[in-house]
């Protein structure tokens, strides 16, 4: 097998390449091996690690991650293969012949313990004073292998300065064990390319370009590195202390909006299997913590659909009817702040393709400090808006200088699912035990369309439900409103929906095949942008892009660990909850109707909504000064 010359080779070496024999069927496609005296048959080319897993033998891993290519650097997964002088890493060793494997001989056990000891000797700090306490892979291994002291000493002074420059991601390399999962995440999985191994030998560390602070390089704040870090080397910038202070301050009116994805995942922080939503329980918990109001971000997700959908129809009209060549199509969604920063850095010349609609978080901030403040007669200066998000990049987004349409900082704090769980625990609350309760008025419970924003394809599905119905007067032609082409975890999905028998005001769209693309993860976003550059998207109208794999439910603020299996379960929880909701189209949300009738009276994309709900972008480029 050879590397194609056109394809960029991932920096973290070639993934495992197995030379297949000319005729696999000659050996039946499987190999019979012996693991700890037990004979088992496994498919040709399976790694020893997978072969063991299939046979209920647990092998410890650290640098291995199901989302990433193989590294084979931590060496914790070593096993003995008969006939080979040295121990072999089970994560990288493909089974191609009838080998005999021993997974827990003295040599293996000793090696694993030594490796843990070595990592601990350079791992600064103590477990009890660490936020990853009880959710740290190094700690678990130390326990598993009965490490009860520092055989090779323990570092007493930090070696690196903690990098707190970024609004979103904090890097503490004193906790780093050099598994390079973050490097593989950043370069291979997300193709952002901010982190790499720097120097060599004992000076090796994970660093940025010229070891600059994270805020000065082209980090998009997606936080995917945090989700895959086995220790506490990476974390989000946690504002929970400031939020507690605001809650404790009687003069402050503290409101929180909660995004769809945290509720589908926060149970994991309380020991619940992935795949269960805790929407009602979370509302109660937040009130008990002391938030004055609990709002549903899905309300502004619905509002986003109204604004972004209207913008799309306007763009279509300008292109189809007015033949205005200055209008850019396809229109790209703008809800994902990681994606926004990605395009600002990597494709600054294409910013006009982005919808000008703000993300739901920012719309809500602006609405709370204007409409809500007016309705409830509270001075917006006294309102603190908190956003519970699955996202690290939201922390950067709310700090963008342009996000002050209300005359104040629209969203004061972005809080991740993990940080929220910490606050809930701190308040002495066990979330799963909470009674359920609804969201607060005047925004109430939102539509299901807003809820599915949490999964990749959700924004597209929600938009289609509304746009199609606005234009044709009929419901989208999918059973139970499930627009299947938008669902699932394929990297890039393409489909179209035909607009026919349009209502009179939209008859200019008669017969148009509305083509759309859904992509998630910035590596896929990059592919889509390259298609755009090559002119392959000329007949595409709408593109949804989410920076994180799986969409927001796989966001950088979600519970750790993550894997495709976990993300699928979260998606399932979201879709299941959605089907039980009474309203499932954004335009049917009564609170949306109310706000357009009583506040944004010049309608979607009107003057006031432009001021409050739309934004502009910055050409950042790639150059690092």
């Amino acid at each position: 097998m050879s590397k194609s010359e056109n394809i960029r080779i991932p920096v973290s070496q070639q993934a495992l390449i197995v030379e297949k024999p000319i005729d696999i069927t000659a050996i039946g496609g499987t190999v019979t091996i012996q693991i700890n005296e037990k004979k088992v048959s496994v498919p040709f080319g399976t790694t020893i690690l997978d072969a063991c897993k299939e046979n209920q033998i647990h092998i410890p891993t650290l640098c291995h991650h199901p989302d990433l290519c193989i590294a084979g650097v931590c060496r914790i997964c070593v096993v003995e293969v008969e006939g080979l002088r040295t121990l072999q890493t089970s994560c990288s060793f493909p089974v191609t012949s009838p080998i005999k494997i021993h997974t827990s001989t003295e040599k293996v056990r000793k090696a694993r313990r030594h490796i843990i000891d070595l990592l601990l000797s350079e791992h600064y700090g103590e477990c009890y004073s660490c936020f990853r306490n009880e959710n740290c892979e190094l700690q678990s291994l130390a326990k598993e292998y009965g490490v009860d002291g520092y055989s090779f000493g323990h570092i007493l002074e930090p070696k690196y300065k903690v990098d707190k420059s970024s609004a979103a991601v904090i890097r503490d390399m004193n906790k780093c064990i050099l598994c390079k999962r973050c490097v593989r995440t950043c370069i291979d999985l997300q193709e952002v390319g901010v982190l790499e191994a720097i120097k060599r030998g004992h000076d090796t560390h994970v660093g940025t370009f010229l070891d600059k602070p994270l805020a000065d390089v082209i980090c998009i704040n997606c936080g995917q590195c945090i989700n895959r870090c086995p220790t506490a080397a990476l974390r989000a910038n946690d504002p929970s202390d400031e939020i507690w202070n605001a809650i404790d301050d009687p003069k402050k009116h503290v409101v929180i909006q909660t995004a769809p994805s945290p509720r589908a995942a926060i149970g994991e922080e309380f020991g619940i299997e992935p795949g269960h939503s805790f929407t009602g329980e979370l509302n109660t918990a937040l009130r008990r913590i002391g938030f004055d109001k609990v709002f549903d971000t899905n309300f502004t997700a619905d509002l986003t659909i109204m604004e972004e959908g209207t913008e799309l129809i306007r763009r279509l009209k300008k292109v189809v009817v007015e033949k205005d060549s200055s209008v850019k199509l396809p229109q790209f969604t703008s809800c994902s702040p990681g994606w926004i920063k990605f395009i600002e850095h990597f494709y600054p010349e294409y910013l006009d393709y982005l919808s000008s609609a703000k993300s739901p978080q920012q719309m809500f901030g602006a609405v709370i400090k204007t409409f809500y403040a007016k309705e409830s007669k509270i001075d917006p200066a006294d309102i603190i808006t908190v956003a519970l998000m699955p996202c690290a990049a939201k922390k950067f987004e709310c700090n963008r200088p342009e996000m002050n349409a209300s005359g104040f900082k629209d969203v004061d704090y972005g809080l991740t699912t993990r940080e929220m769980a910490k606050m809930i625990r701190e308040a002495g609350i066990h979330l799963p035990e909470m009674p359920k309760s609804n969201f607060d008025e005047p925004f109430g419970n939102a539509s299901g369309a807003g809820l599915i924003f949490g999964a990749t394809g959700g924004v597209m599905e929600a938009a289609l439900r509304t746009v199609y119905e606005l234009v044709t007067g009929r419901e989208v032609p999918f059973e139970n409103l499930r627009i299947e082409p938008c669902r699932g975890f394929e990297g890039i999905k393409q489909a179209y929906i035909k607009l026919d028998n349009c209502v009179e005001s939209y008859n200019f769209l008669e017969g148009v095949e509305l083509k759309f693309i859904v992509a998630h993860g910035t590596a896929n976003a990059k592919k889509v942008m390259e298609m755009l550059q090559r002119g392959e998207l000329r007949d595409v109208h709408f593109v949804e892009i989410m920076a994180c794999p799986g969409g927001c439910l796989g966001g950088g603020g979600q519970p750790i660990p993550t894997s495709e299996e976990i993300r699928r379960k979260r998606a399932q929880a979201i879709y299941e909850e959605e089907e039980g909701l009474p309203v499932r189209k954004s335009h049917e949300n009564v609170h949306i109707k109310y706000i357009y009738e009583n506040f944004l009276t010049d309608g979607p994309c009107g003057e006031l909504s432009h001021k409050l709900l739309h934004t502009h972008y910055t050409k950042r480029g790639k150059y690092i000064s």
């Binding site: 060496r75 040599k107 004992h202």
Partner: protein, 407 residues
């Protein structure tokens, strides 16, 4: 003085330094054909001269059998092992052997391209080597239809390293050639199947390649008349340290250390480091051991220490070397070497317990077993052997009268 670099060869030997006329090997190779070359090579029993000692014939056969549109021959001239300089002598004084060897290798496995990975420290050789290659091109020993053999195309490029010892490890070398950090790869897959740019690649040491023309021209039988049962042929030894005549010597495999010491005029010799920093350090009592794959194996580095040397200081120098030169990707090597160096320092300060020392030796064994590549697998060798073989001096003497290594 700026060295003339032609002074290091100390003894003309029976094999490598025997007479050879450029192109003789290539002509013979064409005459023999691929299969006979491989048979001849197999018969010779030649093993890799870089230190690992893998059968050269097997390596060639595996890549000859691999089905691919391109294949590569890489000459590993990243000679970085402390105390090794034989490749320098070969490249400067016998380039015809090395390059003829590469051409024959290319012919045998079906590679059209050869790359010499020359360590950055040897950049001064570049003009003479490139001149030599040009001469070969003019003589049709390189290029298209070599020696008028239809379809026998082969070219050689020289690529420079940039100061990284680990790039002498074959997969790290390939990573470096591909423009990456010199970090060794996971094996399998092996370079013979998946090497440079993913194509089958034979990586051979300079000395291995230099043996090829002799073997092909004079026959495997001739070659294996020298040496021992398991170590065929002769070996170049790079001798340095406390002796009267340091330099490169071609000696039979199986030569006893004591014999070598006599030849190089070593006096008051206390210890011999066989195999460089990653080799083992032997005391007087083991000087009767033979230099051979089956006994005291070495890629050729012999460093001699006389009675005045401080073994702990020597060990410290070695461990500092590995701490700097480890690529840093795998835990046992990156952290392990640091811990061993720390141990050496602690011994020096007298701050140790024997259980701590034993713990470190055990750690050394783990490094030998669990490191990703040969660097980490061999770096504890000197730690373990020096502490074991020079216990008296290190732990029990008051070290008075022992000179600092740095004096």
């Amino acid at each position: 003085m700026e060295t003339t670099l032609k002074t290091s060869k100390k003894r003309t030997g029976p094999v490598l330094f025997s007479n050879y006329q450029q192109a003789d090997g290539i002509k013979k190779a064409i005459e023999l054909g691929r299969e006979n070359i491989l048979l001849e090579l197999k018969n010779s029993g030649l093993k890799g001269r870089g230190g690992a000692g893998f059968s050269t014939a097997t390596k060639w056969m595996l890549s000859a059998a691999a089905n691919a549109e391109k294949k590569f021959i890489v000459c590993n001239a990243d000679e970085g092992e402390p105390g090794t300089f034989k490749d320098r002598v070969l490249l400067l004084e016998y380039p015809e052997l090395v390059f003829d060897g590469m051409v024959i290798a290319g012919f045998t496995i079906g590679a059209k391209k050869g790359i010499v990975y020359l360590r950055g420290e040897y950049e001064y050789m570049l003009p003479s080597l490139e001149g030599f290659l040009n001469k070969m091109k003019e003589e049709n020993l390189l290029g298209k239809n070599i020696l008028e053999k239809e379809g026998f195309d082969f070219d050689i490029n020289i690529r420079l390293g940039s100061g990284a010892y680990v790039c002498g490890e074959e997969t790290a070398l390939i990573e470096s050639l591909e423009g990456y950090r010199g970090e060794p790869r996971n094996r399998p897959p092996f370079p013979v199947n998946t090497g440079y740019l993913g194509y089958p690649t034979v990586v051979n040491n300079v000395e291995t390649l230099a043996s090829i023309p002799h073997i092909i021209y004079k026959g495997g039988e001739w070659f294996k008349k020298n040496g021992t049962d398991k170590s065929k042929g002769s070996k170049l030894f790079s001798v340095s340290g406390d002796c009267g005549k340091p330099g490169v010597y071609e000696l039979q495999w199986g030569t006893k250390i004591s014999e070598l010491l006599e030849i190089v005029e070593a006096k008051n010799c206390k210890a011999v480091q066989v195999g460089g920093a990653s080799g083992v350090c032997l005391p007087k009592s083991q000087f009767n051991r033979s230099l051979a794959y089956e006994d005291a194996a070495t890629g050729g580095s012999i460093i001699i220490f006389d009675e005045s040397r401080n073994m702990l200081k020597i060990l410290k120098n070695f461990m500092e070397f590995f701490v700097e030169e480890s690529c840093g990707q795998c835990t046992p090597c990156r952290v392990g070497n640091t811990k061993l160096l720390e141990g050496v320092d602690n011994i020096g300060k007298g701050e140790y317990t024997f259980s701590y020392i034993n713990n470190l030796k055990e750690l050394g064994k783990t490094m030998q077993a669990a490191s990703k590549c040969g660097l980490g697998q061999s770096s504890p060798n000197s730690f373990i052997s020096i502490l074991d073989n020079f216990k008296e001096e290190i732990f029990y003497s008051n070290r008075k009268g022992i000179k600092n290594v740095k004096e």
